[in-house]
Symmetry: C2
């Protein structure tokens, strides 16, 4: 099996928050939506069902932990959880806090408009808060 490296498109679009036992947890650089992406560090896998059973269970736990953290911090109207991968084949799971007031509501966020990068101060603050919360959430 080849060595896992983060897909360059994901690397370009996100900031690393924390490294959990299975997944790197990334923040999408889009101030329109609080948007985490979980990427299992398993080389060559595009589908959840191509993980082994222990990895699938761990992915479920980490997806749930990310969902709980976003809900606890931000009290969204809805969570969106999705593994799509039509554009970037490396397996990754989106966990997004949705609000009735957000620019894409009620549509999905993908393709709903250009990303709006965080202002530097807002980015630092969000990364710091998420890193603190998600580090303890995985403990």
């Amino acid at each position: 099996m080849s060595h896992w490296t983060l897909h360059p498109q994901l690397a370009a679009d996100t900031h690393v928050i924390v490294r959990w036992p299975l997944c790197d947890v990334l923040l999408m650089d889009d101030a329109n939506h609080p948007w985490l992406i979980l990427v299992p560090r398993v080389a060559g896998v595009s589908e959840v069902i191509d993980l082994d059973s222990a990895q699938r269970l761990q992915l479920m736990h980490e997806t749930d932990a990310a969902s709980l953290a976003l809900r606890g911090l931000l009290h969204p109207d809805k969570l969106n959880v999705a593994a799509l991968g039509n554009m970037v084949p490396q397996l990754h799971v989106h966990v997004i806090a949705r609000f009735r007031t957000d620019p894409a509501w009620p549509r999905p966020v993908w393709g709903a408009g250009a990303a709006r990068p965080y202002a530097p101060g807002d980015l630092a603050e969000r990364v710091s808060l998420l890193r603190e919360t998600l580090t303890s959430a995985a403990g």
Copy 2:
């Protein structure tokens, strides 16, 4: 806890394929995409993280079984698996077989265009094939 009933919008858009231990498995009436929807028969739940741990584990198993069945039957280029629920708050999980030749590719299927209902003969054939496959998949 109130009694679970299928949300009327899901009932209107789908056909029942099979009843698994946790979920009703539905076929979206859209011939553009082989598209299953798994609906846990748990009243009042909108988010995966509001299921209890046994239910979450079972939902994972059933989602994986639906994914494996669609891949085994149809050999899609990609699977899309998602719990969104912005329009219909009753918890439901989409499992969709995607093809590079399908009308929405590479965009997500939601909002990509009007559903194209199955012709009656095609519907009966697809329901029959899926029912046979999914009934044995859950066994």
